[in-house]
Subunit: 644 residues, 2 copies
């Protein structure tokens, strides 16, 4: 096959590729980073590049104007190379690194009465063994086992081939004074033998930390807690964007991306890169060696779990939406690719369905939902909206395909909640002039999820939009107008913005937001109906997810995203997934409970449910077609109408 | 560091090595095979090469004459390179490949009443699974597990990460008709979950073979039996010299060799090469794919087991002679490096001590020793002499360091039982003229172990040697004479020999043989004394090992190697180790029994036992100082004396 030379302006050297190579592939080979938030489907237009010279074939030109095409622009993910080419990569929007350790760190209370002797399965046992002699020719491993029986009442222990190769030398070099690191019980097999993870020379002091790590792999953010298993204390926290974002912003994009040759492996490496860098950073602060981390628990949605483990995820996306595996057997650090002790125990927490994963079972565990008598609604709003309704006796769950509106997707000036994002808005009911708060107190660049909720709620209450989400163009303010994309409201004039253009919300944006909130609210409705519990009798609402932390309940109720009930019934729990992973890291009973939770959760598939479509349609309004469901909003509207 | 060019006459191209590199190491790098039967200790002189040009430093010149040194000869294992050198490798004695499959194949009877349903843990289960639907979104793995519960009553099954990655695709490509290959029970953990080894597309026919392999790793010979686990039938047998022989003929030499950098890994690869070639050859004859072998059991002495698994073996050789591990947990094909299914179950059978390994526990199992009421002596004579005394109620064992005499080592014209070896000798009591039988019916090249036993017995009974092993030089025959090495007897004149020189047995040779037989007989004595059972009350003697097959009981009793008892108490069982591995391959109960045998065997360390030295000294005579122990020999001597 013919080969061609490809020169990227930002690459250190030209590369040679065969005819038919995708520009994205060529970029990767050349070491050029091209964002592909839509997963290389040609939808988002973010990978557009300018082909200055040479022959290419464009499979799709979606999002490119005739002018763009004339200037040589092409979507890299849709364009194949057919001759020697020279390519210019325009500066790309960089992901801002808002997530510093300090910003995402939270106060973590060790569970009351944490007793590592009972709850923890990872132990260090100091052994002083009698050296072998002609009167005692017991083999090395049996000698260690004898010591473990005497000092730790462990009757049955096994070891890996790697350890078999090592123990003899360690015993002799350490003069028969050693410390065994053990996992006393596999969570998926309480009857299995205990496992020797490592044999360390000498006696490790009792007060030396015994490290474990709780990991939550979010579609957007990866969080790591480094935990001293002796005390249960979280010694360090670290969080960072999931490096997979560059290959798709939502799970669907990533699954599509992963199905092409070698891409699954690339996604696996990307998320491992993020996790391992976080572990290293957390360890560095404590001068801890990552290789002394002996246990990891991992939460994450089903797609994240499949991609982490290199398990094909395509069936998650295709009807009838099934995963390859929900209950993953215990693995070891090395198998997974974690930069911790190669024989560390790795427990991937169990999921329930394609769109109700281990992040939710972990959330149910850590939120206490499965331990309470109160009828409780648990919601984790992120890229998807997973909802659980239940109490200690029963649990039902749905996944509402919320779409990316809350993450800034599908919204003209939407963005993630990074520096420059408008995160809260207030609108004057007389002048229709807004005031807002911006992340980082800088000039605004766009609007993030909580900003959108706040903005639309305010527009509704001030009459800028009607209950159908239509912008009222007849109001006496220059901020409502018909723009390129139809009716819009100007939140920020170009002069006040960071990038010198008006920041607006369009009718289309509002429509997208309505669909998102309607999907979630309809999820509540279906759950409540499925168990015959009226939504208003729900005794508490637990909101998880990092997005949940920034949400304003009043506004969320006003747009009909959350059910209308007294504020004191709402509790914002932050990242419940990592906390669930943390509890599972500490306590064998917590691991058993989470498996029990996963088995007990009844999953309702919304796409197969007619009541969902009815509920969805009814919820496509502000706040809802049935205003009696939202008495506080009804009152607020009445009050405003009375004022004006 | 300075580098030098080394040219071997038999190597395809020169190589470059740093100053100080051993010639053996350089030879290996150049792809030149140098035999090192003593393990590179400079003892055997077999690796001598001629350095034609260049600077070398000889650490040891043992076995080289002044003439040799003048001609540039050097022991490659003791000589380091200090300049550009040119080396000639003299033609080496090649290991003759007597072991063809046909020669070593034996008739194997399937154990009576073999019921794979109960006894076998490897099973194939055909599954026709309902495809997932919107009404049944069970994940792939849970769907398989459900099928296994229904079709095979398996409540708990686990799978590897590799299988997690594969099952989704197999299920869909095979349209939900698959065959699960399972190991229902780990031998070292009956309570552990069953294990999915593989998921095959479609339904494998019930009558398709289900392969397992029993392996015996002898110090000299590796034997492989390919077994259809459905029927228990041995479908193919193959045997070959252990390729490690070139790096040491006995276990001690190999351990010494293995302790040098990288050599352990080389020995591991060598034996794996032998095993995998045998498996491939056996499979080829049956058109079977080695990757469809789902289980292996391995017998072998403790050193062979350690070297196979890459476990350092040095402690086996050093006081107080302990292994790293006797009871090895279940491993997988891939871990061990076997060219079978990567997830096949590999059970290395358990050993008892450094010199009583899994070959002996397997031998005890297959010989029936542990099932009989009769007081039984079991002996496996190979490079070492391991002896077990016992019955169903008790078992004691010793390892007699027999030395290499039976394998042709330490004997001037000794050789292994290959083509050209004198394997039996008869001597005329009047003329002192010998007749002999030669392996392959060719001109003799030397004398093998059974030939030596036969020869010395005949020499003793004809008065050529006295009971102290001294050759009587006063007899009227030119065959007794004083040669270069002292008194000797000419078995074959140069004219009748293959290599044109006299084949003799010297006083030193006889002395070595006496030490060997004395060590073994003293082992019997110590065992019998340790349990207070007179040796003559032993009800049967079971002889295992391939050497045992060629031994002549009468002659062995005459020299005092075996105890003097009626011939019908002796049973020659051939390779009891591979048969034990075969039984363990078939039957979970056999695996449990062999573990039980290993635990029950009381090992007596001879080197710490004073009674051993006394018994050894008494046994250094022909047949023994206490002639009353050998009544039949006493009678034979009396008869001859009467005749003459």
């Amino acid at each position: 096959m013919a080969e061609h030379t490809v020169i990227f302006d930002v690459a250190p050297s030209p590369i040679r590729v065969p005819t038919g190579t995708l520009l994205t592939e060529a970029a990767r080979l050349a070491g050029v980073e091209l964002a592909q938030p839509c997963g290389g489907q040609g939808r988002c237009g973010r990978c557009a590049v300018q082909v200055l010279e040479g022959q290419v074939r464009r499979r799709s030109t979606l999002r490119l104007s005739a002018e763009d095409l004339a200037a040589g622009y092409a979507l890299a993910c849709q364009t194949v190379i057919e001759g020697d080419v020279r390519v210019v990569v325009p500066p790309q929007e960089k992901i801002e690194r808002r997530l510093t350790t300090d910003r995402t760190a939270v106060e973590v209370t060790v569970p009351a009465g944490y007793d590592p002797q009972h709850a923890q399965t990872i132990h260090r046992v100091a052994l002083t063994l009698p050296p072998p002699s002609m009167d005692d020719q017991t083999d090395d491993w049996a000698r260690i086992q004898r010591g473990l029986r005497q000092h730790a009442q462990l009757a049955d222990v096994k070891l890996s081939l790697a350890q078999m190769r090592r123990i003899g030398r360690t015993l002799r070099e350490a003069d028969w004074q050693v410390t065994a690191v053990l996992d006393a019980e596999a969570w998926d097999c309480p009857n299995c033998p205990a496992r020797l993870i490592d044999l360390l020379p000498g006696h490790v002091p009792d007060d030396a930390p015994l490290w474990g790590v709780a990991i939550d792999i979010g579609t957007t953010t990866v969080t790591v807690w480094l935990v001293d298993l002796r005390t249960g204390k979280v010694a360090a926290q670290a969080a960072e964007y999931n490096a997979q974002i560059a290959r798709g912003e939502d799970v669907i994009s990533r699954i599509i991306y992963s199905t092409r040759d070698g891409n699954g492996e690339e996604l696996r490496r990307l998320v491992l890169g993020t996790i391992n860098a976080l572990i290293e950073a957390a360890c560095k602060r404590l001068s801890a060696d990552p290789l002394t981390i002996y246990k990891a628990t991992i939460a994450g949605n089903s797609t994240m779990m499949h991609l982490l483990l290199g398990i094909p995820a395509s069936s998650i996306r295709l009807t009838p939406f099934v995963t390859a595996i929900n209950h993953i057997p215990t693995l070891r650090g090395e198998e997974v690719g974690l930069a911790i002790h190669p024989e560390a125990t790795v427990d991937c927490l169990p999921g329930v369905a394609s769109y109700v994963g281990a992040d939710i079972t972990a959330g149910v565990l850590s939120s206490g939902l499965a331990d309470t008598d109160k009828v409780t609604l648990f919601i984790d709003v992120g890229t998807n909206g997973e909802i659980v309704l239940g109490n200690r006796d029963w649990l039902v769950t749905v996944a509402a395909s919320a779409g990316p509106a809350f993450e800034g997707g599908g919204v003209l000036h939407g963005m993630r909640a990074t520096r420059g994002a408008i995160e809260e808005v207030w609108i004057n009911g007389q002048t229709y002039e807004p005031t807002y708060r911006v992340v980082g107190n800088v000039k605004p660049r766009g609007i993030c999820g909580s900003g959108l909720i706040s903005l639309v709620a305010e527009m509704f209450l001030t009459g800028l939009v009607d209950k159908g989400g239509h912008i009222n163009l007849n109001l006496p303010t220059p901020r409502v107008r018909t723009g390129e994309h139809g009716p819009e409201y100007v939140v920020c004039w170009a002069a006040d913005s960071a990038e010198g253009h008006d920041i607006v919300i369009t009718h289309v944006d509002i429509d997208n937001l309505l669909r998102t909130k309607a999907a979630i609210y309809a999820g509540f409705t279906v759950l409540a109906q499925s168990v015959g519990v009226p939504l208003e009798t729900v005794e508490q609402v637990l909101v998880g997810g990092s997005f949940g932390k920034y949400i304003n309940v009043e506004k969320a109720v006003e747009i009909g995203l959350l059910p209308d009930m007294p504020w004191d019934r709402f509790h914002f729990l932050g990242n419940t997934a990592v906390r669930g992973a943390y509890l599972a890291l500490l306590d064998r009973d917590a691991r058993a409970r989470i498996r029990d939770i996963a088995s007990r959760m009844t999953y309702i598939e919304l796409s197969a449910d007619n009541t969902f479509y009815e509920a969805f349609t009814s919820a496509l309004f502000l706040p809802h077609t049935d205003l009696s469901r939202f008495p506080s909003v009804q009152a607020a509207i009445a009050a405003r109408n009375h004022e004006s």
